[in-house]
């Protein structure tokens, strides 16, 4: 394995290293480093500041112009004061040598500023400009000297022009200069670093909160109001005396109720005729929603946790926790609701803890948002024994906290810890945190050494399976969950498969690229995919040459990667695009024949079609000038730059993102919001995601919730995450293989899915009896042997302070469904856990592991577990 890891580093870590350099080398530092003492005397004479020169560009025709500068050259190019190209960053060799920008310019005079000219002036000669589609010419040769005064005149005159704004680079945001190839050099990276620092504090501050920290809520009840009543001391319970008359139920402080309606420690007053319930006693339970809080009891039977500070609970269902003061008397609680339920509800009381749980469902709030819950303690063996009823009012409200959306869409499944965390910090903070993956401590995942899963030494089949497992480990265990979600999305968007070639290792290289650039720039990814040897051999671009056109890639880059099937292109356009990509080939780079072959992009001028390419009026309405020699590759780069900013691309790709994150039928307004962010940012993924996720409707619209179906892959990862499965030492291969067999049997076949569409996202594609059989049957092998998969639920449940069947059923379903499940599902679990002899996990003589395995198996076939 050691060799494998080193091999991997050699292979793909340069890519990471390059990115790191970009991140850690701020633009300013580079600017200082390149502050030149320009020796080119003519230029020095022109420029007041030595690193900056001014040139005058006079254009005869208005139109779309292409400006190009070498990447990593330290140059910045401004036209009429607008920063158009920023090549001060460090950009991967992998994505090409030039930075290309497009700008709409009118006829007349323009002021061009070039900053960062190097000492030998070698870089300035490489800056080119041309009317889009024509051959580039040296910018310097086309321009004339310009002094500050005249430059100011030009800018002033331009500012006065109507529609002056249109002279700004169309692809650039005013505040964030457009860098088409932002990898390592984009200003957006720096912006994100800054954002990271800002949100880091949030994370640190709340990092200590966890689902199993009862102290937080335990203190809430006693600090909640002015009353100091300690119920257990003022109304001591004498078990023998309380048989039929109930217990002294009104503490001395009961009179406080009218004046302190929000006092948490003042319980509703149980009287023989339940009065309109007084203020609710429950503590707020914002940080431990899954486990019962420890509360000093004031009543013989009472709720200890229900709702938030306002006493509101989600009308989509919620678990109320409660406790009895003396569990030797009451072993069950009868619960009645008003509006009433059809069936009586009786819940068990923990023999050791005295706790109980009552689940409320959406149906309970159908008749009224305010529901009265009345509790009566009972002794199952003696019907004569019961407590005075005590009533609480629970107010249901629509869920708007985004917890369910956060856990089911932005991750590969909820974990108990994450559940508590999102509750604690809120949806927006969670989104911001996830959008800044570098700020997220991923050391626990790294300590699992996922690299060691990769098998680079045996055969290609084993390698591909090992890569699937490597990806599965990331999805299941990385803390950078949204990065994983989006990385998977992009890899699937640019889906490519090894097809009758030896291009295998590129599957890993490309997968890592999309993971690392999940929040990058779309144009980077489009160009990367066009140059990928994996894509090239998959869609036959390597067989596409002048006079021997193969149109496969041309069609799919339009239909699947960019503008979409309704993008307006004609069949003839496909031929022209195919000609543009002639000569885009790849070549083997490791000739030692050790291990898997490595390849890299190679442009072959001898195979390139040098004719002019005419794109139809109905599509791009332009001619891309044919070029010979090494410059032939520019045609494809230009086309990619245009496609990446085409309105049809924006709406097509945004439609897919919204489909992923919101609904199978992507809502048009969110697609539009995403496309607008794309237009403004020049295709940066973070603003696009912010536009979707931070739109208020994302967490408030009921129709966006629980409306998607997990893919078999998500079914597997969410199981791992919800129930804490993890590889047992020495069993790693078996662990990953079992889950892999499950999602692949169900038709989710990463890396080798035959269609260039990639795996479908819509739920209907994953909902069928055959897929269910595959998923459920394979999952049964896992639940039947849960301990072999690192699952020890009985211990987990005890750690979480749970004892009764209702508590456990509520907990298991909550973590596995984002707290959205149905009464039949809950009742089924309670029945299974209770069995014929009750559920007594704390009894040293009982073994509840089989009951828990049964519950686990039942959860896997619930509709709610399959929804997200």
């Amino acid at each position: 394995m050691g060799d494998a890891v080193n091999h991997l580093r050699n292979l793909s870590w340069p890519l990471l290293a390059a990115m790191t350099v970009g991140l850690s080398t701020p633009v300013l530092a580079q600017a200082e480093a390149t502050t030149p003492t320009v020796s080119f005397s003519d230029l020095i004479a022109e420029a007041e500041q030595p690193e900056q020169i001014l040139r005058k560009l006079v254009l005869e025709t208005a139109g779309m112009y292409t400006v190009r500068a070498p990447a990593n050259s330290g140059l910045q190019v401004l036209i009429d004061g607008n920063l158009l190209i920023d090549a001060t960053g460090t950009r991967l060799d992998d994505v090409g040598a030039d930075i290309t920008a497009f700008v709409s310019l009118d006829a007349g005079d323009h002021a061009v500023t070039i900053m960062g000219v190097d000492e030998e002036n070698s870089n300035i000669s490489e800056v080119t400009v041309n009317l889009a589609g024509q051959a580039p010419e040296q910018l310097f040769a086309l321009t004339t000297e310009l002094d500050d005064l005249e430059a100011a005149e030009i800018l002033t005159a331009r500012a006065a022009l109507p529609g002056a704004a249109e002279a700004a680079p169309i692809l650039a945001a005013s505040s964030s200069p457009f860098t088409p190839f932002a990898i390592g050099g984009g200003s957006s990276e720096d912006a994100r670093s800054a954002a990271a620092a800002a949100t880091a504090a949030v994370q640190v501050a709340s990092a200590t909160t966890s689902a199993t920290a009862p102290s937080t809520t335990g203190t809430t009840s006693s600090s909640g109001g002015g009353t100091t009543t300690v119920a257990s001391s003022t109304s001591p319970l004498s078990p023998g005396a309380s048989v039929s008359s109930g217990v002294p139920s009104t503490p001395a402080s009961g009179g406080d109720t009218p004046t302190a309606p929000d006092t948490p420690t003042t319980p509703g007053t149980p009287t023989p005729t339940p009065t309109p319930p007084a203020p609710t006693t429950p503590t707020t339970a914002t940080t431990t929603p899954l486990t019962p809080p420890e509360v000093e009891l004031t009543e013989v039977v009472q709720l200890t946790s229900a709702g938030n500070e306002e006493g509101l609970v989600p009308s989509t269902g919620t678990t109320l926790f409660g406790a009895v003061m003396t569990d030797t008397v009451f072993d069950q609680v009868a619960v009645t609701f008003d509006p009433p339920r059809d069936e009586p509800t009786v819940v068990s009381v923990g023999a050791e803890t005295g706790q109980f749980a009552v689940r409320m469902f959406p149906e309970d709030f159908e008749g009224a948002s305010e529901v009265t819950v009345t509790l009566v303690g009972q002794l199952s063996s003696n019907a004569e024994v019961s407590s005075e009823p005590i009533s609480y009012t629970v107010t249901g409200e629509a869920v708007q906290d985004g917890v369910g959306q956060a856990l089911s869409r932005l991750t590969f499944g909820a974990t108990p810890e994450l559940y508590a965390r999102v509750r604690a910090i809120g949806f927006e903070a969670f989104v911001n945190e996830q959008l800044d993956p570098d700020s997220i401590n991923n050391s626990a995942f790294n300590a699992m050494s996922p690299d060691e899963l990769l098998d680079l030494d045996s055969n290609t089949n084993n390698f591909m399976n090992s890569l699937r497992d490597y990806d599965f480990a990331h999805a299941a265990f990385s803390e950078r969950q949204l990065q994983e979600v989006m990385g998977r999305f992009w890899a699937n968007h640019f889906h490519a498969v090894t097809k009758s070639s030896n291009v295998y290792l590129q599957n890993l290289t490309d997968r890592e690229f999309y993971r690392e650039n999940a929040f990058g720039n779309f144009e980077d990814m489009l160009l990367y995919s066009a140059r990928s040897p994996l894509m090239s051999q998959y869609l036959d671009n390597d067989a596409n040459s002048a006079n021997n056109i193969n149109e496969n890639y041309a069609r799919e880059i339009l239909e699947l990667s960019s503008v979409g099937v309704n993008g307006g292109y004609s069949e003839d356009d496909i031929i022209e695009v195919a000609k543009i990509f002639t000569g885009w080939d790849f070549t083997e780079v490791n000739d030692d024949d050790e291990g898997l072959n490595e390849y890299e992009f190679e442009f072959r001028p001898d195979r390139h079609d040098t004719s002019d390419k005419v794109i139809s009026e109905g599509f791009l309405n332009m001619t891309i000038a044919g070029r010979s020699g090494a410059e032939g590759v520019q045609e494809g780069e230009e086309l990619i730059a245009i496609l990446a900013q085409h309105p049809s691309t924006r709406s097509f790709v945004c439609g897919k993102i919204v489909q992923l994150l919101v609904a199978d039928e992507a809502p048009a307004d969110l697609v539009a919001a995403c496309a607008a962010a794309w237009e403004t940012s020049g295709g940066e993924v973070v603003p696009m995601l912010e536009a979707i996720l931070l739109d208020p409707s994302y967490i408030t619209a009921v129709e966006y919730q629980r409306n998607k179906v997990k893919s078999p892959f998500e079914f597997a990862t969410s199981f791992v995450r919800a129930f804490g499965a993890s590889p047992v030492a020495g069993e790693e291969d078996n662990f990953y293989r079992r889950f892999r067999e499950m999602y692949m049997d169900a038709g989710y076949i990463p890396l080798t899915f035959a269609d260039p569409t990639g795996l479908p996202e819509v739920g209907a594609a994953w909902t069928s009896s055959a897929k269910m059989v595959a998923m459920y049957e394979r999952m049964n092998t896992i639940t039947e042997n849960a301990e072999d998969f690192g699952i020890d639920l009985v211990d987990d449940l005890l750690d979480a302070g749970l004892e009764t069947a209702e508590e456990v059923a509520g907990y298991l379903l909550a973590v596995s469904t984002g707290d959205r499940f149905t009464k039949p599902e809950f009742d089924t679990l309670v029945t299974l856990l209770s069995g014929s002899d009750g559920f007594t996990p704390l009894d040293p003589d009982s073994d509840e592991s089989r009951s828990v395995r049964q519950a686990l198996a039942a959860i896997t076939v619930t509709p709610s577990f399959l929804l997200q």
Partner: protein
């Protein structure tokens, strides 16, 4: 939207009122003899090259445009050449070129020679493009629009029959084909073996009367049968769970009975082979199977090296080339199915095979072909006549101006005719099953006189 559960509930209450087991009787799709009719649609996903499957071998332009790929005309017993389909292949229409059969499809010749197979060599539909995924979708929905239901599901909605979970199925694969997706949930059955759910912690085998052998399945079914759905996705999940639970026993029983037949053929372990085998099992077991969607995917998207140019043998039949071998494997599976059912049962079954488009008439720069339009569809069984639908006389540029065959036959007319002539559907329902389509009777199937 009427869900499966609504329907089952109405059925149950109707049965209760009527006081009879089994509920109301609807008519099956059946002829006068009362036998269920079955329509099996096989999709060749990827764009099968119709000119390669059924070469226009006498056309000089075909030989000229495909210098490497053109298959030579029949010559005695030379197995590397096109197989003659006899005069019928040309006699049916005026001005038609002569079609032969790809030598890898040789097993289909028995079916052809029996007079119970037709070929529609330039099949497509109005508004077809050259995108795989668009065309597959529009073919499945039956019209170029945003319908969700497939035409097979609309047939099931329009033609009343006794509700049975196996009335329509997807066979041999796991995903629901667009053609049969819709309001009526249908099971997808990859293969009959292991089509069930077992859990050793939940199931209670051999525990005596009154206990549940397949408790996990029962739990799934019980939860799914509750009506409270908060989203369409939830309803769809439950409908699919129910149709799974309801179909398990029949599938197992059919497979068990089939296993007793010593003459049962060995189908290939491919989507097609598994699917055809499953159909044979269900049909032979007397289950009311009407609509079946399945796939025959062998890598039809032949953009490059459609033949092995380095082959030491005849490149058109060299079985080391997967394309050839899997074509032959598929043809053999069709022949097995034909023999498995026998002449009697094959009267009740029509198998229709087709792809989303044909390919370019000229080979491209990599000894492959790119996306085209008209493709070769064929059908056999039931009332299928020995016939060749409209074709071009030549693919010469002077006659066929684009680089692909035109659309001369609408697949909607083929299927419309199957539904009317074979399934016994009323003709006026064709425009419902295929919205806005006016039925054009091509006479490729004999009239059902029943």
């Amino acid at each position: 939207m009427a869900t499966r559960r609504d329907f089952m509930k109405s059925l149950a209450s109707a049965a209760a009122v009527a006081g009879v087991a089994g509920g109301p009787q609807f008519t099956f799709a059946q002829d006068a003899s009362g036998r269920t009719k079955t329509f099996i649609k096989v999709f060749q996903r990827g764009g099968a090259d119709g000119l390669h499957l059924f070469p226009l071998y006498n056309d000089p332009a075909y030989q000229q445009y495909r210098p490497d790929l053109a298959i030579l005309g029949p010559n005695g017993n030379d197995g590397g050449r096109a197989i003659s389909m006899g005069s019928a292949a040309a006699a049916d229409r005026a001005n038609t070129g002569i079609r032969g059969m790809n030598p890898n499809l040789a097993p289909l010749m028995d079916i052809w020679d029996s007079g119970n197979m037709m070929l529609a060599p330039a099949t497509s539909f109005d508004g077809a493009g050259r995108s795989h995924f668009d065309n597959q979708r529009w073919i499945g929905t039956g019209e170029r629009n945003n319908l969700i239901d497939g035409y097979m599901n609309r047939y099931m909605q329009e033609v009343l029959a006794a509700q049975h979970p196996l009335r329509g199925i997807v066979a041999g694969k796991t995903s629901i084909s667009t053609e049969i997706r819709g309001d009526i949930a249908v099971p997808a059955i990859r293969e009959s073996g292991n089509y069930d759910i077992t859990n050793r912690d939940l199931d209670n085998f051999d525990c005596g009367d009154g206990c549940d052998d397949f408790r996990m399945t029962s739990i799934m079914e019980e939860i799914a049968s509750h009506e409270v759905d908060l989203s369409a996705a939830e309803g769809n999940v439950k409908d699919n769970q129910l149709v799974l639970a309801e179909s398990i026993q029949d599938v197992a029983a059919a497979a068990q009975a089939y296993a007793m037949d010593p003459n049962a053929p060995a189908y290939s372990n491919s989507d097609l082979g598994r699917g055809l085998r499953l159909c044979a099992q269900l049909i032979k077991h007397g289950l009311p199977l009407e609509m079946v969607a399945m796939d025959w995917n062998i890598g039809w998207d032949t953009h490059r090296e459609q033949i092995d140019v380095n082959s030491t043998g005849n490149p058109f039949i060299d079985q080391n080339k997967s394309y050839n071998a899997r074509m032959a494997q598929g043809a053999a599976d069709f022949k097995r199915f034909w023999d498995d059912l026998g002449p009697e049962l094959m009267q009740d079954v029509v198998v229709l095979v087709g792809s989303e488009f044909g390919r370019t008439k000229k080979q491209n720069g990599s000894v492959g072909t790119d996306h085209g339009n008209g493709g070769a569809w064929f059908a056999f069984g039931g009332p299928t006549r020995m016939a060749v639908a409209e074709d071009v006389s030549t693919i010469d540029d002077s006659v066929v101006d684009r680089n692909w065959l035109p659309h001369l036959t609408s697949y909607r007319d083929i299927i419309g005719e199957i539904m009317v002539r074979h399934m016994g559907m009323e003709e006026n329902l064709v425009s419902t099953v295929f919205p806005n389509h006016t039925f054009n009777d091509l006479g490729l199937f004999t009239s059902n006189t029943a």
